[in-house]
């Protein structure tokens, strides 16, 4: 009877280099995703593989909805398409009651194609092509205006249709956070918003019915939302008094963080990322204390990352094991920054499909691209892995399946583990045909 094998390791002992063999190991193992074994997923659908959990998507949506409704009576979640616009993911959120938040012609068309009526679409973004803008006006979308040129476009459309167009104004402001996103919309503190409002009122073709403010992304300061809400309430009152408009909605945008580990943050996300309940509380308090009783405009939230990130996993396989000149072990995975755009900003949780004996060692995780920048994780602590070992990276549900690149290799399948425990393909793997279909070889080169 031979003994179970453990790869030979030698570690230089250093003061402060902590190794907690037992507890560390069990945290690093993930055998299944929502009851479906990782091995089965990879064998049936290939590696790399994006896996989404329907249960987690719905649970997170319901949790956030309850949370915010506990602090303010009228809340609408508008699903941020750019965060993840796979049909299946959008449909799940729409079924839960989310409207659609889009920022381009493509996203607008995708939402309409999925059957979302125009009046359930929030149309943001710094460039709205005139044709799409016209369509959005005719279909009654909530359009949040970003610039003076857009106002001119909308006035022209209003002239054509002969009807007043209802719009929202995108506002940027100081909420005490850095960096300040001041390239979108009109500035509050400088008085630009009021000037623009006067201009709109003078034009007589548009009517401001909403205010919008998106402060940035992965904002770790709940109070910033409180300040934004407070300032929007004051602005709304001023606009109503001065111009006779009725502000029907206040849109606080997105930017709520997920439990992902932002690079440069020393503390783990469980400590560094404030609970979402704090955000809900600050927003609710600012709105309720600033608004007259009974007059509650709709609060719109464009939460993307906080809803979807933690429902997404990526299964990837160690394809090659190497040693770097400095002695560290390096693993080449079949998924790199081509699929994991967010690897530039976040340290993912790295889990192994099964318990592997051996002490965790510092190692580097590389992707399959022939580029030096293709690093999934600069320093992971993993026991010595063999070729073929599968790793599970998370959370990867936000932005990756929209910002991924068709670069050097194909993009893999995306599957959904349904609430019933079935596994459904929600996006097929790309083939050569997908990529060359749009190419054209001119006659003289054939």
């Amino acid at each position: 009877m031979r003994k179970p094998y453990q790869k030979p390791t030698i570690l230089k002992l250093q003061v402060g280099f902590m190794r907690d063999k037992k507890s560390g190991l069990s945290r690093m193992v993930r055998r299944e995703i929502d009851g479906v074994p990782v091995r089965e997923l990879a064998e049936r659908f290939g590696s790399p593989l994006f896996v989404f959990s329907e249960r987690r998507l719905r649970e997170q949506f319901r949790y956030l909805k309850r949370l915010f409704e506990g602090h303010y009576p009228r809340v609408e979640f508008s699903w941020s398409y750019k965060t993840n616009y796979l049909d299946a993911i959008c449909r799940i959120f729409h079924q839960e009651g989310a409207t659609a938040e889009v920022v381009s012609d493509f996203e607008y068309e995708k939402a309409r194609r999925l059957g979302i009526p125009g009046d359930e679409i929030v149309f943001n973004g710094p460039y709205k092509p005139k044709e799409t803008l016209r369509r959005a006006v005719l279909e009654g979308a909530r359009i949040n205006v970003d610039s003076m040129d857009e106002i001119l476009d909308l006035e022209e459309i209003a002239r054509e249709t002969g009807e007043k167009v209802r719009i929202g104004l995108r506002v940027n402001m100081d909420t005490g956070i850095y960096p300040r996103w001041d390239r979108f919309g009109f500035n509050l503190e400088s008085g630009e918003v009021l000037n623009v409002a006067r201009r709109i009122a003078a034009g007589g073709r548009l009517e401001v019915v909403g205010l919008h403010c998106h402060q940035g992304t992965f904002i770790l300061e709940p109070e910033a939302y409180g300040r934004a809400a407070e300032k929007l309430v004051q602005l709304a009152r001023k606009l109503e008094e001065e111009f006779g408009w009725t502000i029907e909605y206040l849109d606080l945008g997105g930017g709520f963080p997920s439990r992902n580990r932002l690079k440069g943050l020393y503390l783990p996300p469980e400590v560094a990322v404030p609970p979402l309940s704090e955000y809900a509380e600050r927003i609710g308090r600012a709105l309720l204390s600033g608004l007259p009783a009974g007059d509650y405009p709709l609060l719109i939230l464009e939460t993307g990352r906080a809803l979807v990130d933690e429902a997404g996993f990526l299964i990837t396989t160690v394809r090659t094991v190497k040693r770097l000149p400095d002695g560290r072990r390096a693993y080449v995975l079949d998924a790199g920054v081509n699929l994991l755009f967010t690897a530039f900003w976040y340290h993912f949780r790295v889990e192994i499909e099964k318990e592997i004996p051996g002490p965790p060692e510092p190692c580097v995780l590389y992707g399959p691209l022939c580029m030096n920048i293709d690093v999934v994780e600069e320093t992971a602590y993993l026991p010595p892995l063999s070729r073929g070992t599968r790793l599970i990276l998370s959370p990867v549900g936000a932005y990756n399946v929209t910002q991924w690149m068709q670069f050097i290799t194909y993009r893999p399948r995306v599957v959904l583990v349904t609430e019933a425990g079935k596994v459904e393909v929600i996006r097929e793997a790309e083939t050569l045909e997908d990529i060359v279909r749009r190419e054209n070889l001119p006659e003289h080169l054939r």
Partner: protein, 84 residues
């Protein structure tokens, strides 16, 4: 040979009196060090490992070579040492 000067405990604790550095090895790492001291070469060590553990001789040889590279980097072993 440098390897012979190391203090190696049965639990896998290693002390290098020359530099003052200490190391830990796991069970299979310890086996390799012991076999190296006995003067065995990588192939023989790999064979011994696959007899004692659930591992193919090929995988064992690859791991032995990887281990040798690592201890060479720590200055505990030289490529030619076992040839002498």
């Amino acid at each position: 040979m440098k390897l012979n000067r190391l203090a190696i405990s049965e639990e896998g604790f290693i002390f290098d009196p020359e530099t003052g550095n200490s190391y830990t090895v796991n069970e299979t790492g310890l086996l390799i060090l012991k076999k190296l001291r006995e003067g065995l070469g990588p192939e023989e060590i790999a064979e011994a490992m696959s007899e004692e553990y659930e591992v193919s001789p090929e995988e064992a040889l690859r791991d032995v070579q990887d281990f040798l590279e690592t201890i060479a980097r720590f200055g505990l072993w030289e490529e030619k040492a076992w040839l002498k």
